[in-house]
């Protein structure tokens, strides 16, 4: 009963909440609008926007002196999570079966495990740092911890289900992933998408001024 619910209606529901919610969030941001910049540009806004969307993924050296481990952790977590989310065989199969119908080449099992380990390493370091550093402790709110917790639990239950021989373990993993999807549009996890907007806006402004931001 519960299994069918998690596998069927709840999956459809959470996916819909996710898709509609994310779209709604992005649309409301765009709808807020920006005033047209009347100053004569020195450089191209669109080139600046596109450049910044990519170049901001490279850390700024002069601000990295004291947080080296943290930067490494940030990269490990994001790259690890991305790889394991989209290139692990079970996920590709799931996406192909449930969403797109398309599948692509998976990375070998060892690379899957490695990416999961790196993602865990990064997430744990980042989260502990969030709890320890006076700056992040002061900034963080419930949302930050809830988001971290959900991602952590989804990753953890995923790794507990690695044997792929127990249906209930898969369902727990799926259930948490569904909760994550439902929570996603209402939370900071939105930065997964909005970072393109914020980098873009900043890049455009700086691009107009002729500064590589």
């Amino acid at each position: 009963m519960i299994a069918q619910f998690i596998d069927g209606p709840l999956w459809i529901f959470s996916l819909s909440v996710f898709l509609i919610g994310v779209t709604w969030r992005i649309v409301t941001i765009l709808m807020a609008g920006n005033r047209k910049d009347l100053a004569t540009p020195r450089g191209s806004a669109s080139a600046g926007a596109i450049r910044t969307v990519f170049t901001r993924s490279v850390y700024e050296r002069s601000a990295a002196t004291r947080g080296r481990l943290l930067l490494v952790a940030g990269y490990l977590f994001h790259i690890g999570l991305f790889v394991l989310l989209f290139f692990a065989q079970p996920h590709i199969d799931f996406i192909a079966e449930r969403i797109t119908g398309l599948s692509w080449t998976a990375i070998p099992h060892w690379a899957f495990i490695l990416s999961a380990e790196l993602a865990f390493l990064g997430l744990l370091l980042l989260w502990i740092h969030r709890l320890l550093s006076p700056v992040t402790r002061m900034l963080s709110d419930l949302d930050d911890h809830l988001g971290s917790l959900l991602v952590f639990l989804v990753m953890l239950t995923g790794c507990l289900a690695l044997a792929q021989s127990f249906e209930s373990l898969r369902l727990i993993h799926l259930l948490l992933a569904e909760l994550l999807l439902i929570y996603f549009p209402f939370s900071k996890l939105m930065h997964t998408f909005t970072f393109i907007l914020s980098r873009g806006y900043t890049g455009a402004t700086m691009g107009r001024k002729g500064v590589n931001a």
Binding site: I29, S62, V135, T194
Partner: protein
């Protein structure tokens, strides 16, 4: 007071556009911006984390633009913005931020935090929560025409001195000149050498220029305090004067925020395109040099370093010009470790220098600049902003350092062929 507070909240509400919304949506509270802010690095006080300074605006955004905020406000779970927030944050917003823009360069999700703080100041100034020093400066700027109370009389007296020293005629209100020059009060009062320098350079290069007696002040306190009406009024004076004189270009002086005000924010404040172009003095000098109109005769062997004024370089986009100019007059130009778009602020920008109560903090965070200077091992620091110059000089004096601060324009003037001050 309460009504004024409501107006402040409303003003703040108006500021929340797509940019601000995307920035708040993206911020993951990583705290990396703290490492980019000299107020944090020098005090280690977490409250000086740039993104924390816009907490009041975040509170408003969360309540009015997010699902949880809207839901919570119905049931009374979410606090609304209070007057106490304004009171508590005033010093963070005005005293410990120079709008230098360094944080905006390091944010991994690309938030322009400086823009957010600048926007938040709009709400704070309307609500009346701004430092008295800056309020006074703005009032003087609107009433007298200069934040330091400099009148056209003072300017004319200064110009008379310059004319006497150089033997050159300074054109005032000359219609149809190519360039209209602006000054900052700081230059008129403290550094008249700057006026002298451009008079000599323009004479040597044969530039057709003038000064307007109606609008000679380039600084804009409205931008610093965050009052768009005041800012627009101050920009408008310049625009009207330039239109009256029918000039092709308006020259922004060696002053950081003046450049941002007139060049980048100005057209948006007055709500239209200018019929003229705004050019920074360094841009013009570099252009004159490239065109061969500026003959520089020798190079100085004194080791020199360059302090990049935030608003001209990082926030203004005049990055290469000062370097090329300096290289053409100095043999031993040493870059600081963090330079160009990543330079550290002097600590006095964004109105902080007009805010007397912020002085102890400002002198404290000058340590960052001191360390930077020490690393270069150079005793001559060149800059291109009258405000930076004053702040650097004060910091140097406060720290008993043996460092000379010179203006890049003046340095260029000193190296003109047939310069009377040839060393």
């Amino acid at each position: 007071m309460n009504e004024q507070f409501e107006q402040g909240v409303e003003a703040l509400r108006q500021q929340i556009d797509a940019r601000i919304s995307s920035y708040f949506s993206s911020c993951v509270h990583c705290g990396l911006c703290a490492e980019a802010c000299l107020f944090y690095t020098e005090t280690q006080d977490p409250r000086h984390t740039p993104i924390y300074k816009v907490e009041p605006m975040k509170k408003l955004w969360r309540r009015e633009h997010t699902f949880w905020g809207k839901l919570g406000s119905v049931f009374g779970w979410v606090e609304s913005l209070t007057e106490k927030d304004f009171a508590d944050w005033e010093t963070l917003v005005y005293d410990s931020c120079t709008l230098c823009g360094r944080c905006s360069m390091v944010c991994p999700v690309g938030n322009d935090i400086t823009y957010m703080i600048r926007k938040q100041r709009e709400g704070f100034s309307v609500a009346g929560y701004a430092p008295d020093g800056m309020k006074e400066a703005t009032r003087r700027a609107l009433k007298i025409g200069s934040p330091m109370g400099v009148t056209i009389k003072t300017l004319k007296a200064a110009l008379a001195h310059v004319e006497k020293d150089t033997g050159l005629k300074i054109p005032i209100d000359k219609k149809g000149a190519d360039y209209m020059t602006l000054f900052s009060s700081m230059e008129i009062v403290n550094f008249p050498e700057y006026i002298e320098s451009i008079a000599r350079i323009f004479d040597a290069a044969g530039v057709s220029w003038t000064i307007s007696s109606k609008a000679f002040e380039a600084t804009n306190s409205g931008i610093q305090i965050g009052n768009k009406e005041a800012a627009a009024e101050l920009v408008n004076r310049v625009v009207i004067a330039a239109e009256e004189l029918a000039v092709k270009y308006v020259i922004s002086p060696e002053c950081g925020h003046a450049y941002t005000a007139i060049r980048w924010e100005g057209p948006n404040l007055v709500g239209r395109h200018y019929p003229f172009e705004v050019i920074h003095i360094l841009e013009l000098l570099e252009q004159l040099k490239t065109e061969g109109r500026l003959q520089l005769d020798y190079k100085d062997s004194t080791p020199m370093t360059l302090h990049d004024p935030c608003q001209i370089v990082r926030r203004g986009g005049v990055v290469q010009q000062p370097r090329e100019l300096l290289n053409s007059v100095a043999e031993n130009f040493v870059e600081m470790k963090d330079h160009g778009a990543m330079n550290w602020c002097c600590g006095g920008g964004g109105g902080v220098s007009a805010n007397e109560r912020a002085e102890p903090l400002r002198l404290h965070v000058f340590d960052r600049k001191k360390k930077q200077l020490r690393e270069t091992g150079v005793n001559t620091i060149v800059t291109a902003c009258a405000n930076c110059r004053i702040i650097l000089e004060e910091g140097i004096e406060h720290n008993d350092m043996d460092t000379e601060v010179i203006s890049l324009t003046e340095l260029v003037a000193d190296h003109l062929t047939a310069s009377p001050e040839k060393k």
